[in-house]
């Protein structure tokens, strides 16, 4: 087993995912199977290879940056239109600080 039930619950916590016990067991089995396949990466020699962090093409370092000019923002009303809960121009969430 590459990943234990305890680790599955730990990772779910990191990812802010509530999982049922059934899901924990299912994902433990799935992740073990997938990580088993991923193990084959140990067989390929990558000594001296630079990691590919982005697809690169011929362009200078800053050519893809747009001009730093003011643009009208989206606006509060549009930004809040899809809020689960909004009020007084803000996103509302459960209280985190006691008065």
């Amino acid at each position: 087993m590459k990943i234990t039930e305890k680790e599955v619950r730990y990772v779910a916590d990191l990812a802010n995912l509530s999982l049922s016990d059934g899901e924990v067991h299912r994902f433990q089995a799935d992740l073990n199977e997938i990580l088993g396949h991923i193990d084959r990466l140990n067989d390929i020699d990558t000594a001296g290879i630079e990691p590919m962090t982005q697809v690169v093409y011929e362009a200078g370092d800053t050519t893809t940056l747009r001009a730093d000019r003011e643009r009208p923002p989206l606006g509060t009303e549009a930004a809040l239109a899809n809020a689960a809960q909004a009020g007084a121009g803000y996103f509302k969430v459960p209280k985190v600080v006691e008065r």
Binding site: V11, L17, L41, I44, E50, Y57, T64, F91
Partner: protein, 479 residues
């Protein structure tokens, strides 16, 4: 007019000859699509107001004697991971069932500027994660050519709409094969352009170093015209490329004699199947057209699925962190503290495949595992890109299968995630290298299921890819 077989050129001719107006076409295309949609579930919802406004705009331009644009009046479907201002965009997820974007994706803006008419939004795997369209929160899509089978995924609705004739063109997105594989399964043309060729502004992010927007169409020409309309630098997407956009239709001339094509032996050696036979026949067609076909090797291929499912899930786990019950409509009813609210919202909102990928991605990025998984995968990705660069020093294009098999039955593979991941082997390599690649119809199995042939080319060499695809299409594929 014959709605289900329309091409861009036919729409243009009809409009210019005043046989129909753009508004009449839009109305007829919408009612045809609405009537046919229940048999496939390809569209999640329609956008009649937007379609009629765009069509009216085209008619005004025509009345004034102005050029109405290369996509004038053409009915287009847009995958529901691509934002449309004022038109619901769900990403196939319960989390976004009621989400209405405040802005348009650049690709949508551009296709409307070119005269295109957006009919509606197409079904897909949740957040574009899947190869069968069975991971949609709004029900699977049925393959229009075989209703008991999947259309492929994740752009299954876009491919099905084009195949069914309920759209002339569609936008899809591709992170690991999500345009090409459904195009292959539904017998249409699907193009994944070079990374950076089309702006992703307004594309819901899945794996940012791999995500592409691209066209689906019934002909190579239509796909090329749509790509030209949406491609090019966009100041709103820093990863979009400066390179000028050529007129791709200039490449559609059949001049493929002497083109050097590579056949990757790692892709073909295990393909002893009807799909393999059809690809072999397709290669014979290309030889007959005067192409020089030679074996090439892409030795890192065996590591591609492992590499992809580390990078894609790591990036996804980060990109999907934003769906936390604050900004994007859905919030769990059973929330206590702020943290509980996040956890329950995500636990209730995401479907199984998204959760699986968030878990895998979070795991490979977690303390102590980063070097062994993510960093290692980035190095293997560099090797996969190097394989292609090496191959393209010898050949002009690479020819390969799209999928190891044709459309499978609904439910057949849903319980075996690893098997589903492994079936992406031929398409994920192009995404990892960032090169342009496409699926063009090759032939049909004895059962009548379409099989696509994949063409891959150098960075920004869409012209060679289209040149070959067009000649292959005109020659009748594997026939």
């Amino acid at each position: 007019m014959d709605i289900p077989s329309l091409t861009i050129d036919q729409v243009r001719e009809g409009l210019l000859a005043r046989r129909f107006s753009a508004v009449e076409l839009a109305r007829e295309a919408l009612s045809f699509a609405e009537a046919r949609n229940p048999s496939t579930n390809a569209y999640l919802h329609f956008s009649p107001e937007r379609a009629m406004a765009a069509a009216a705009h085209v008619d005004q331009k025509l009345a004034r004697g102005e050029d109405p644009g290369p996509l004038a009046g053409v009915p287009i479907a847009v995958k529901d991971v691509i934002l449309t201002k004022g038109v619901r965009t769900t990403c196939g997820s319960k989390l976004l069932a009621h989400y209405t974007p405040p802005y348009d994706a650049t690709a949508v803006t551009r296709l409307e500027q070119a005269g295109g008419v957006v009919l509606g939004k197409t079904n897909c795997d949740e957040f574009a994660m899947g190869s069968s369209n069975e991971n949609s929160a709004f029900g699977p899509v049925r393959n229009p050519l075989a209703p008991d089978r999947v259309p492929g995924g994740s752009s299954g609705g876009s491919a099905a709409a084009v195949a069914q004739g309920t759209a002339v063109l569609a936008l899809g997105s591709d992170t690991g094969g999500s345009i090409r594989q459904p195009a292959s399964f539904c017998g249409v043309v699907g193009v994944t352009p070079t990374y950076g060729r089309v702006s992703r502004y307004g594309l819901t992010a899945f794996a940012s170093s791999l995500d592409h927007i691209g066209p689906l169409a019934r002909t190579v020409r239509d796909a090329a015209v749509l790509l030209a309309a949406i491609a090019g630098r966009d100041p709103l997407d820093a990863t979009s490329a400066e390179a000028p956009v050529p007129d791709y239709t200039h490449s559609l001339n059949g001049a493929v004699k002497g083109m050097k094509l590579g056949l990757p032996r790692e892709y073909l050696r295990e393909l002893k199947s009807e799909t393999g036979d059809l690809i072999a026949k397709g290669i014979e067609t290309l030889r007959r057209l005067g192409c020089e076909v030679r074996d090439i090797s892409l030795p890192a291929t065996d590591y591609a699925v492992a590499c992809y499912y580390i990078i894609a899930t790591a990036e996804a786990s980060s990109n999907l962190a934003r769906y936390d019950g604050v900004r994007y409509t859905f919030r769990s009813a059973s929330s206590g503290t702020l943290t509980d609210m996040y956890r329950h919202t995500r636990g209730e909102g995401f479907g199984a495949e998204c959760k699986r990928r968030i878990m895998l991605g979070t795991y490979v990025l977690s303390a102590g595992y980063y070097d062994a998984y993510y960093l290692k995968a980035q190095k293997v990705r560099a090797l996969i890109a190097r394989d292609f660069a090496q191959a393209f020093s010898e050949v002009d294009a690479i020819v390969a299968p799209v999928s190891p098999f044709p459309a499978f039955k609904l439910g057949e593979k849903i319980d075996d995630p690893l098997a589903m991941y492994l079936s992406d082997i031929y398409t994920i390599t192009g995404d990892l290298a960032g090169i342009p690649c496409m699926s063009v119809p090759c032939g049909k199995t004895a059962e009548g299921l379409p099989v696509g042939m994949q063409i891959l080319a150098r960075h920004f060499d869409e012209p060679s890819m289209f040149r070959l695809a067009y000649a292959f299409e005109r020659a009748g594929g594997a026939s």
